[in-house]
Symmetry: C2
Subunit: 705 residues, 2 copies
């Protein structure tokens, strides 16, 4: 986690130098200085220009070194070739924040220049924003340190964007959307300051209630997750580049690698970050997240004057995972007093088109005061007989009268110009108002999710298992590396698994048929026998597996067949021997695997075996390490969850034990994240509740070094 | 299909009587008359009022019978108790369209009154709109025959709504959304005129290019599908009440039963109706559908000045099933001339923020003129250096210069007030413009789907199989009914299936063990034997099935066990005997079933057997009857499609034969739709390509009569 103190110069600078400030209109150096003046920046402002003594009526300095006092932030508006020289001068001056608008770095392949820039800044405790950015727009500091035309519409959302063009467009869009923003930060190439730093800072910023991110790719996934969890504030992100083609476009755009959607989906959950499906959802939900408290229970009450929009809100609520429920009888009785006979008090509470202002006011107050209600949506269809403006006033009055302020409230006004105006009035009083019932339900669902995240707490979601033996695991890996191998053999991989407390069946490696017979006698029947060869990873394909061996004769026959098949399959294969192994009873086959993601590092996958993984791609991920509780949360995410729950009259499977094993694997791949590229525990035989599981086959692929 | 001539009085009346016209402001009778005058209705207008000689400066009549000339349309603004009397007078007058605003009919349980109303009107060739509606708002006829405040923003979308409150709200929303509307029709209880009638009419209306529906429930599903297919015009619908709770709310709202989502989903496809996921999508897509031609190929080109919105458009395109592809080399070369070096010509074509007006104009012209491009999206992020207004002008100029008018074009302007203004300018010239790249891709995807629907043609999607024997099937059913049974036994059901050419294995019903042995000898081994009892539907549960019987001894043993088990299971069960049947070789188990949907009638379901249906609910539907080609379209809709395609090294399964069988079953359940409630061919053993399939078990449940 970054030091908040260190970041203050970036997000709340007391003095700003504009390096490359210019008299010439149309240049960035002119625009940025003008913007800082226009935005009413009240700190010290120093134009830096080698020749001009004064720019835009401000005294200018030839070099930042000539500035009399301290400089918190330097905004770089100079050509790329001057950046490193200027940075060196900033370092001498002990500048804390380098806001580098200049482009021409990693986005065009100049990675070295970018690294050097960061090195220079960091050497004296400075932080770099950018390069290749629009700048930073800080409403609370009244500082538009950017070439975007003006500070955004003021409010409590911090908006962080990896795309500069989008940031400028959104800057202007904040006014038409009435989206209140505390700051807009352009991150560009993210050579230093990244999403995690922004989250760290805005988590502590009293002017910010919601952190909104446009992400093309995060650079340090683990730092992102840690910062998100610690924030304890609503965070919402739009991840661009989720399609194959889109990812390619994103890569060409910012030079950052995009992780797979499923990994991002997992990481966002673990970082307590809400996923926005598109730009509208990002901005619409941000409004609600910034203005309203989390929804601490699951009971939404919808009050409407139109049956149609009521039904639509019910459909949407279910789609967003917060289905409406019929309100309790006593509350129905109270609602009945607020509506004509042909209204409906059940939920949606339809006070009907004729109900008017008084009906709304009464019903809203009733709803907010009732314990059952956790969140409220007030829907309004413009009618010929009611005035949107009055309804908006009535909503505000009823909320005030109820004196309830810990339940989220959203509104939806469907209609014309007057509804837009009424909506603006509500927004000005911190009631999010939409023009589509779907959006109001999306907003409440987001506020519900924030409460669920809050309930999970800010602490890291993992406590290491005791009694694991990383040292032994590393010895086994070291031995394989010494042999020049990039993967462990099955017995080796199983040994590593065993070192982390995984239930791997007993087995012995037999080099001769007699050794196999001896091992069989020691282990007892039935048995499985498998070829062990570094060159044969797909043992079944090679005819290298025999199951259900019941006696000595079987062992002898299997040994002969397996070794013969292996030689046929690959004459060059180096044969370590044949693994003789206890045969696990049949259970439901599940798979736990891991990858080492470029952004997020070791990441664990779970799914059911066979067609579920191969045909249905029915899998889910979590970034490692994580607790058994988090592993339990993975299971309902697969489509075949019913099978784990005991479908078709079968017993529920041992999800508790499975969750522990998944968590242990997450510890293993994290501890050995520097060595292991991929693992597979496939299949695991999972038995019914209380009866545990058995890891039947194991594979570990090492990182290329 | 309705007679268009008959419907003209509803949608383009030459004369209108307002029954219950009133001098008193605030009454519906006053409002409707005022609205007709205000909207500039040019036909003959007759206020009807028992006492007033003149209303709103118009001569009034005591009864419609006193009106001198013909009356096309009568708008009912009288209380419910007067409606039937007035209707009788209208019938005498040979009124053609009864627009019944009055409520108090089936929506409050008064079904009889509603039926009587329709009966009176129909007796003299009249049609009823409503009751319980807002009225009809006809822009081309300049007739606001409703109590909604004004005619909607003029344009080419016909908007039909089952919810009156929503219709009024949308009426006003058309102005802020600049959604051009030809007519708005409030359908209310749909006692007579329904969605299909509206589709029939607007399919032929030269002023309408897109038909937009808000549906809570259709009443005659088959008529809906037929009208939709025949329309040959874009139709888009928002189906409300898709959630369990929402359906309940819809039912209380309009009194119509809501079919299951999956059946509606199927019916919409078959009716060539696009599904809108929410109100925004309904209205946003309607704009594009009304303004732009269908997209006849799948190549979308995106031109953008911002990488971020480009990536987002690419993500959305994939999500909507129209993924972007890299443009061909020669087109890339042409694009390169329109952008600076650091732009990207691949798709999204990123002309970069610096490109400005000239870049847009050149790139748009290049794109439209190139054969590869089937549809174009022009995205724009507001920047500090370009003017949205000029970009909009440039887009229009480039389109005109290209002289291309058969490719759809949409725009997306992200920014502030100036972008909104520019968007309005584009809309006024029939270029749909959105504020979110997602919406522009949704619009192009919709236009692509219209082209695919058009390619399917307007004809009904079914040609009956020859050589089927419905007479025989009916005889079998009649016999079961005569026995007082509600379901067929397995041999009976199989006989019905056989009458429709389904490959059902040979079998014999044996009443005694000796009959069973004789049957076995005739059929040959291996065999399956199953209990046949009207009281035992779940044969396996009753221990009433034995498989893989290999010899006479086995037949004898099986007969004894099966009959014994059946008696244990249900001592009262009437035992018809034991079915002795050829045993089909193992294949992939699939299920074809049917239900008799309340709205759509016989509807066929397809899925894979076992957990796929029971746990994953991985099934898909089509309303019967339909062609083998349509059946082929069902297969890729299931998640387990990979298995039909030959997953994990297996051969592709015989989808061609399966599609024929599914189509035959659709014919069977349609022909016998008056008799059959449900069928199940479960399991069907499906074999590899060219090797067909075998129906192993069959069940037919009869309709309650």
């Amino acid at each position: 986690m970054s030091s908040i103190k260190e970041l203050e110069a970036v997000f709340a600078p007391k003095s700003i130098a504009v390096i490359g400030a210019s008299k010439k209109p149309g240049t960035i150096g002119n625009q940025v200085l003008q913007n800082l003046i226009d935005s009413g920046y009240e700190g010290k402002l120093y134009p830096i220009n080698p020749t001009a003594p004064e720019i835009l009526s401000r005294k200018a300095y030839a070099s930042i070194k000539d500035v009399p006092g301290d400089v918190d932030m330097a905004v770089f508006c100079v050509p790329e070739k001057l950046v490193l020289g200027v940075a060196a001068e900033c370092a001498e001056k002990r500048v804390k924040a380098y806001v580098v608008i200049t482009s021409g770095f990693s986005e065009v392949g100049n990675k070295a220049g970018e690294e050097e820039l960061v090195k220079i800044a960091k050497a004296t405790g400075g932080r770099v924003v950018g390069p290749n950015i629009v700048g930073v727009l800080l409403n609370s500091a009244k500082a538009n340190a950017s070439f975007a035309p003006c500070l955004p519409y003021p409010g409590r959302t911090a908006l962080i964007s990896q795309s500069g063009a989008l940031l400028i467009a959104l800057d202007m869009a904040t006014f038409v959307r009435q989206l209140g923003v505390s700051s807009m930060i352009s991150l560009g190439n993210m050579a230093d300051v990244d999403f995690a730093d922004c989250i760290d800072y805005y988590a502590h910023d009293p002017n910010t209630s919601c952190i909104t991110l446009y992400i093309e790719g995060v650079k340090d996934g683990r730092k992102f997750i840690e910062s998100g969890r610690k924030a304890g504030k609503p965070i919402i992100a739009l991840k661009a580049g989720v399609s194959a083609h889109g990812a390619a476009a994103a890569a060409s755009h910012t030079g950052s690698l995009a992780g797979s959607v499923k990994v991002y989906d997992a990481a966002f959950k673990q970082a307590h970050v809400l996923w926005a499906k598109d730009l509208d959802e990002l901005l619409d939900r941000s409004q609600a997240l910034a203005m309203q408290p989390p929804m601490t229970g699951e009971n939404i009450c919808v009050i409407t004057n139109g049956g149609g929009i009521g039904v639509l809100s019910s459909d949407s609520a279910e789609a967003y995972g917060v289905p409406l429920k019929t309100v309790p009888k006593d509350l129905q009785d109270e609602f009945k007093k607020c509506m004509p006979d042909f209204g409906s008090p059940k939920n949606p509470v339809d006070i009907t088109g004729g109900a008017g202002l008084a009906g709304y006011e009464a019903a809203i107050e009733v709803a907010l005061k009732h314990d059952w209600v956790d969140g409220l949506a007030v829907l309004y269809c413009e009618t010929a007989v009611t005035k949107p403006d009055e309804i908006a006033e009535g909503i505000l009055k009823a909320i005030e009268k109820s004196a309830v302020n810990d339940k989220p409230i959203v509104a939806c006004f469907v209609g014309g110009e007057k509804c837009l105006e009424a909506g603006k009035k509500l927004l000005a009083k911190n009631i999010p108002c939409y023009d589509n019932p779907d959006k109001s339900m999306s907003a409440l669902a987001a506020l519900r999710q924030v409460a669920l995240f809050n309930a999970e707490g800010k602490e890291p979601d993992f406590k290491a298992f005791a009694g694991v033996d990383p040292k032994k695991a590393r010895e086994i890996i070291a031995k394989a590396r010494a042999d020049g191998r990039g993967a462990l053999t099955e017995p080796e991989a199983k040994e590593v698994f065993r070192a982390y407390g995984l239930p791997v069946g007993q087995g012995k490696l037999a080099k001769t048929v007699d050794e196999a017979v001896a091992a069989a006698k020691e282990l007892g029947f039935p048995l499985v026998m498998k070829i062990v060869s570094p060159q044969i990873l797909h043992k079944s394909d090679a005819g290298g597996v025999k199951v259900n061996i019941k006696d000595e004769e079987g062992v002898r026959a299997a040994f002969a067949t397996i070794t013969e098949n292996a030689k046929k399959y690959n004459a060059e294969a180096q044969i370590h021997g044949v693994l003789v192994q206890e045969m696990a009873p049949m259970g439901k086959e599940v798979i736990v695997g891991s990858v080492n993601d470029a952004q997020f590092g070791p990441t664990v996958m779970f799914g059911l075996g066979g067609i579920f993984v191969e045909v249905l791609k029915d899998v889910t991920f979590r970034v490692a390490p994580f607790s058994p509780k988090t592993a339990m949360g993975m299971f309902p995410e697969i489509k075949a969850y019913g099978i784990l729950q005991g479908a078709r009259g079968e017993k529920r499977l041992d999800q508790e034990r499975l969750s522990e094993i998944v968590s242990r694997i997450s510890q293993l791949v994290t501890d050995l994240g520097d060595e292991i590229a991929e693992t597979d525990a496939n299949p695991i035989m999972l038995y019914e509740e209380g009866k545990g599981l058995a890891v039947v086959d194991a594979r570990i692929i090492l990182k290329k070094k």
